[in-house]
Amino acid sequence: MKLFVLALAALLPCLAASSDADPGKSLGSPSAPIRIEVFSDFECPACKALHEQILPLVFKDYVIPGKVYLVSREYPLPMHQYSREAANYATAAARLGKYQQVADALFLNQLVWEVNGKVWDAVAHVLTPAEAKKVQLEAKDPSVLSEVQRDVDAGRAAGINQTPTIFVTRGTNRFPVVGAVNYNLLRSLLDGLLK
């Protein structure tokens, strides 16, 4: 009985780390000591800066060495006309293992599609024709739509009122980082938590 309880206790951190993360939208090892959840809106300029300038550094310095498990979550804001559509496409692409490529393309071309509304054009050119067909179908699938909505509901429950909002979790401690991220300070935070 004691052995059973010990084994269960040893497994709990792994369960907590990977509870409802979409593996197609996650990077690194689920058993990493720190979990970073990024709630982001594809039409948000600060999210673009985070994705293009900060997350690559986090990936290189913390995800690759196995210190951080990075989970992406969708939080399309109501005032952004096309961000829900973008989130649906990105989540659909995750089913094909193409989330990062589609996310990169969406943020890279943000200034174009947020004005002309042609979100699909930004997504399509990083997919093969076969992949594009599948993503277009999946993006309308109720399971994809509900996954995006689950992320939104989780964000609302956590009190998010701004994007990007990232949650840095180590054990039972969960710390929100809201808005533009200074990498030196984030690094100091992560290094402190890893001690």
């Binding site: 998010i160 009122n161 701004q162 710390f175 929100p176 980082v177 808005g179 533009a180 300070l185």
Partner: protein
Amino acid sequence: MVSSSRVFRTVVLVLRVALGAVFAYAAWIKLRQPWELFAMSINDYGVLPDWAVRVVARTLPWAEALIGLALMAGRWLRVSAGAASLLLLVFFGLMVRAYATGMEINCGCFGPGEAISVRTLVRDGGLLAVSLFLTWTSFRGRRRAA
């Protein structure tokens, strides 16, 4: 019949303890989290260099705690009320500047996650008004004794 001076003293006492509690609470919120989180809020205002952001993030919560405790205990009132007024003046000024220039950043007043809005401006403006009133009463009381 209750005299007006007694009512006045009661009002001052209530405001002093309340303002002290607000400062102590603000300090507690910041001190129970890694200092880097408060540093990020300070950094968002874009007025201090990196090294100063780190110094302020590590020291300001302790100053808030001391001010809060002194106000609640009614000790060193001219210094504690004056310091509270000075801090609130700086905070409020920065918040007004941020709001007026359309910066969508967090207040940083009570931890991360509270965007600067009309509500936060009214709240902090109210705290500043209370603090200035208490500073005035602390100096007034001293002058009368002299």
